[in-house]
């Protein structure tokens, strides 16, 4: 059986769940071979990746990779497309992932498809576009298909394999080292999960009324171990930081549960959350278009309903 190259998404030794989702998706196409760029790959890491079906973990950990973003990774992926002849390359649909994929595609003369939500055994890709209103099947027509996959789309499921680690030395061109990382700043995010990876997202919009109104949203989020999101109306008004915006001009989320509070549901917002599995809506206005997406909706004052819900969840845990 042929290899499928999977680019691991990780922060030092912290494996992002999308990596396990990519390996799970890769199993339908061939033997998942994981490429680990940079530091953090330990015996435990290799075992975890193997537990989801990785047959090999190729580790490229060098100063060239650690000190320069994107371009070195693209050179390594391109060289592996050449030497491994994988049947496909799977990458996370993150900023870094998409860009490594994009540059590797041009280097290797391979087609690229982004934001897959499903991949068939013949590498046909399912995409959910225009905020989930349209389902598209696409395929790459030239070279090795390079496919970026959206987090939370393919459920990760274990299939244990004794993965082997192999350290690879790839020489990186001077051209790929022209951008240098001078410093890395980690912004404290608190205990909440990453918005795009969270299983539950609790969002607030115009109906929240102001920055202090997000207190009840955060309390509900914490009762569910959820990420907090905000509509564009709320972030534009400065009530909640920009990076939490869900929508066409913000993040796209696809959690198991999405709770929209005081959000009317303009297309701009729906485009970022329409593929959520279960949607709960709280809004004063019974005519709000967001109710069209609701599996369960309550017409009422969010400042009454949301705290009661948080309390009830805490009680039932």
């Amino acid at each position: 059986m042929t290899d499928v190259l999977v680019l691991a998404e990780h922060h030092d030794s912290d494996i992002k769940r999308i990596t396990l989702e990519l390996i799970t998706g890769a199993r339908a196409l061939g033997n998942p071979v994981v490429l680990w760029l940079g530091t953090g790959c330990t015996d435990d890491t290799v075992a975890t990746l193997g537990n989801y079906g990785a047959t090999k973990v190729l580790v490229a950990d060098s100063d060239a990779v650690n000190n320069h973003p994107v371009a070195p990774g693209a050179e390594i992926v391109a060289s592996l497309i050449d030497s491994l002849s994988p049947v496909a390359v799977l990458v996370a649909s993150t900023a870094d992932g998409k860009e490594v994929a994009a540059r590797a595609a041009i280097k290797s003369n391979c087609g690229i498809i982004t934001d897959a939500v499903e991949i068939a055994a013949d590498s046909t890709v399912t995409q959910s576009v225009f905020g989930g209103s349209t389902v598209v099947h696409s395929r790459v027509t030239k070279g090795t298909p390079i496919i970026t996959v959206r987090p939370n789309a393919i459920p990760a499921s274990p299939q244990p394999f004794a993965a082997v680690r192999e350290d690879i030395a790839v020489s990186i061109s001077a051209g790929a080292q022209r951008v240098t990382v001078k410093d890395r700043t980690v912004v404290a995010k608190g205990a909440r999960p990453e918005l795009t990876e969270a299983e539950v997202v609790v969002s607030g919009g115009r109906g929240v009324g102001g920055p202090e109104g997000f207190g009840v949203i955060e309390t509900l989020a914490d009762s569910l171990n959820a990420a907090v999101g905000a509509s564009r109306a709320a972030t534009d008004a400065g009530w909640y930081p920009h990076q939490f915006q869900v929508g066409q001009t913000g993040k796209t989320v696809s959690p198991q549960l999405y709770i929209a509070n005081g959000i009317s549901g303009a297309i701009q917002h729906r485009a970022g959350m329409q593929t959520s599995k279960v949607v709960v809506v709280v809004n004063k206005d019974p005519e709000a278009p967001i109710f069209e997406l609701a599996d369960y909706g309550v017409v009422g004052d969010l400042f009454a309903v949301v705290p009661q819900l948080a309390e009830e969840i805490t009680k039932r845990k």
Binding site: A102, I106, I112, I113, T134, V140, T249, D301, E311
Partner: protein
């Protein structure tokens, strides 16, 4: 300093978008075409850099004839000139083909900086800046929330999943910016009037020295096999709060085995 800003005309962000049955391409006629919102931040950044250090800003777009309006709109914010690549052969181009066209149009013009928005609101791929950088063999510094230029030294704060990285590179370079970098200005009346007189170069595929086979649908390295509207969601339950709305949602979540 000479700065190029690549912009795209997209269907209005607030409009419903759909694919055409005939060729599986985005139906661009059914909605108003507007300047991709995220590109406004790139235009603003270019104008601020030139206001501080001197130079010129050229807006570059590829798209059908009506994309010329969008080009003028971007110029009216205060740019100096435009380049519009327009050709019937370009329809159906994917990201790979588009990046080939943009790279060709940009090369040899001695731009110090090539700016992009972080993504287009229609295709949302976020790959064009990286592809153009690869094709032009330039350093790529993308998803910038802050851009500083000191002589030929470029310093950028790149937004990451965890915070941001401070990156440095030498010009020329390709940079994309995120929406928190600035507050785009509205075109002034003077700017709108002036934009009508600013030079816009119209280029075809042949002018760029590209074979028609490397652009459009024939130059695309990916294709849409088929598509369908997502079946409408079954209507959910909507109740009016009678003092127990929170409890009712909790009951629903329990019935779904979520809590």
């Amino acid at each position: 300093m000479k700065i190029a800003v690549c912009v795209k005309q997209v269907p209005d962000t607030w409009a419903e978008k759909k694919l055409r049955d005939s060729d599986s391409r985005l139906d661009r006629e059914s909605a108003d075409g507007v300047l991709n919102e995220l590109d406004e931040y790139a235009v603003e950044q270019a104008l601020q850099l030139v206001e501080a250090a001197g130079g010129e800003v050229v807006i570059v777009t590829m798209g059908p004839e009506r994309a010329g309006e969008t080009l003028r709109k971007a110029i009216s914010m205060g740019a100096d000139a435009g380049i519009h690549i327009v050709d019937d052969n370009l329809g159906g181009s994917d990201a790979v083909a588009t990046s080939a066209v943009l790279a060709k149009a940009l090369s040899g013009r001695e731009f110090d900086l090539i700016l992009f928005g972080s993504e287009s609101t229609d295709a949302r791929m976020s790959v064009i800046p990286a592809m153009v950088a690869e094709r032009l063999d330039l350093p790529q510094v993308t998803f910038a929330q802050k851009v500083d230029i000191n002589g030929s030294e470029l310093t950028v704060e790149r937004v990451t999943e965890y915070g941001f990285d401070l990156l440095s590179a030498q010009l020329p370079a390709v940079v994309s910016v995120v929406e928190k970098i600035n507050e785009p200005r509205y075109p002034s009346f003077k700017g709108i009037m002036a934009a009508k007189k600013k030079p816009v170069e119209i280029l075809t595929v042949a002018d760029l020295g590209l074979e028609p086979s490397v652009v459009g649908a024939s130059g695309a390295w990916s294709e849409v096999a088929d598509f369908a509207a997502r079946p409408p969601k079954a209507a959910g339950v909507v109740v009016t709060d009678e003092g127990d709305g929170g409890v009712k949602i909790a009951d629903f979540l329990t019935s779904q085995k979520i809590i």
